[in-house]
Assembly symmetry: C2
């Protein structure tokens, strides 16, 4: 039987109860083995309430990073639940880490405990956007507010390995996010990154893409710095929420329209769910010696379970090994790192 997913039970706005509930859903509905990491007593009580004491083991971690705590806290708390979860992966007792804690805290702790893969300049956060027929990988979604052109090139390799291994995309097309389709558009870093990407032998570089291309499926992997990527991702989430809000206000005005709304409510709810970032399981931290999935801080049981399923998929797909191989091969060919 596969090693379990190490789930940080203390991270997230709704920890530990929604996290434990998510673990139960992951085990019972997704068939994903999970070990909960955190304070034993409250976790044992929560598991008992689900009558799941025998299904899900608990690994003790007395400390936890608060949601507002950033990178430094991970140094002050070597025994935090996220640090212990990383340790389990390092020892091979778990196949992946899942946490809904503070992103800065997770990134810092995971970098410290799992270390970057050989040649990786910086790990990047990748998110799979709900495009059709297949998702689009956007990275970096927030790990590195400032980047060098070489990092953007590496992100292209990390995202390509993710798309190939976990999303089963053959020869993923890579786009560079900027403010115009011409090669010279953007700031200095982006212009240089464009040159590096265009010269990369092992990438299918499709050139520049713009904000309105993110959800059209024009490319399979969108590369950008963590500042722009984070703003774009949150802008996208906000715009979809806004569109649905305006829509509800519109369709529910007037008797005939209300009838129409009634006829569609369930479908619209399903669509909303599909477009809800929580539904697609969370962000993946690529470039470390271990699989790390970052769930939404506000994640409830359903999205925690989805994050555990995503983590198990990545582990089974050997995504970590594939990113490592790609970065190593690219390093040899580019002579950049």
């Amino acid at each position: 039987m596969a090693a379990p997913v190490a789930l940080d039970a203390m991270g997230g706005d709704h920890a530990p109860h929604e996290i434990v509930a998510g673990a139960v859903t992951a085990v019972r509905e997704h068939g994903v083995p999970v070990v909960l990491v955190g304070a034993p007593r409250p976790l044992a009580e929560a598991l008992a309430a689900h009558d799941a004491t025998r299904e899900i083991p608990i690994v003790r971690a007395e400390e936890a990073l608060a949601m507002h705590e950033g990178a430094l806290a991970s140094l002050r708390r070597p025994r935090s639940s996220i640090a212990v979860a990383c340790h389990l992966v390092r020892r091979g007792d778990a196949c992946a880490v899942v946490s809904a804690g503070s992103t800065a805290g997770i990134v810092a702790t995971a970098r410290l405990r799992l270390r970057g893969q050989q040649g990786v300049l910086r790990p990047a956060i990748a998110v799979a956007l709900p495009t059709r027929p297949r998702p689009t990988v956007l990275l970096d979604a927030g790990a590195n507010a400032e980047v060098k052109p070489e990092m953007l090139l590496q992100f292209a390799h990390l995202g390509t390995a993710y798309a190939e291994s976990a999303l089963h995309v053959e020869n993923p097309r890579v786009g560079l996010l900027t403010i115009g389709s011409e090669a010279e558009k953007g700031d200095k870093v982006v212009k240089r990154a464009h040159e590096l990407l265009a010269a990369a032998p092992s990438l299918d570089f499709a050139g520049n893409v713009e904000g309105h291309d993110l959800l059209t499926g024009k490319v399979d992997v969108v590369v950008t710095d963590g500042f722009t990527g984070n703003v774009a991702l949150k802008t996208m989430e906000g715009a979809v929420r806004y569109a649905f809000g305006e829509l509800r206000a519109t369709v529910e005005s007037g008797p005939l329209s209300r009838l129409g709304a009634l006829l569609q409510r369930s479908k619209i709810r399903r669509l909303r769910h599909r477009l809800d970032p929580d539904a697609y399981g969370g962000a993946v931290l690529l470039g470390l010696n271990g699989t790390v999935v970052i769930a939404h801080g506000a994640a409830r049981a359903g999205s925690i379970a989805a994050a555990c399923a995503l983590a198990a998929t990545l582990a089974a797909a050997r995504t970590v090994a594939r990113t490592g191989e790609r970065v190593a091969a690219a390093g040899r060919s580019h002579r950049l790192w």
Copy 2:
């Protein structure tokens, strides 16, 4: 009678016919006087087709900037339609410039012909987002891919003057777009800009905002660099388009749903239109000695007319004077420029 709007008849994907049609709509439906700038013969023919020869004068400009031409072309073409339009404003023969040409070309030409206002480090492109109850001003939406902290501070003043004068917002609340609500979030430029904004006596600085705040009306003015702003704006447009596309696919599947969709089609179309960036008239180039409105390159008659109406509103609201006064006063108090 007010000076007319100088409309660049040669700029845009659908020039000159949709531009001329837009001029006719602006004059007849919005009561905004317009003068067309461009090649006399085709414009005269187009006006004749609308039976509008006597309503709309033509100012000759033999050259035009192609849509793919950027900043340098404005130097090579001193008699381009956009350059001549700027000249009319400079001479006081027009109250504002409207163009659907290439943004880079418009910005470069306008900076060259109208010059920046006293103390303005860089002009910025401002867009009014369709939030309720009042629009939210986002700037810079693309004029400056790279900025200094002092420029972001100036953008806050430019956007505040725009919101006060043209959108009638009292004491506009200003937000700084970044990747977290805490003051220390973001890159070096943003962190320093946060300090400058927090220390500015004549601004109502509400702190950091994130991508998902852009359409909630949380603040009245959102300040960011032209790279992030452009990506965010286009991401927003793409996400709204995507949400409506997914929605149509959803509501039109299944007989009952189709009926529901039927009942709402017209309303949904109206909502779509309201959220369509074309509908809100275009972007405003702030910080120059003259009013410049940049219409969408793909703009058709309706949005060209809306852009002319917006330009007339800005001219009547003395937005240029208000931005100048604010920047001058801020320069005295901040001692930064």
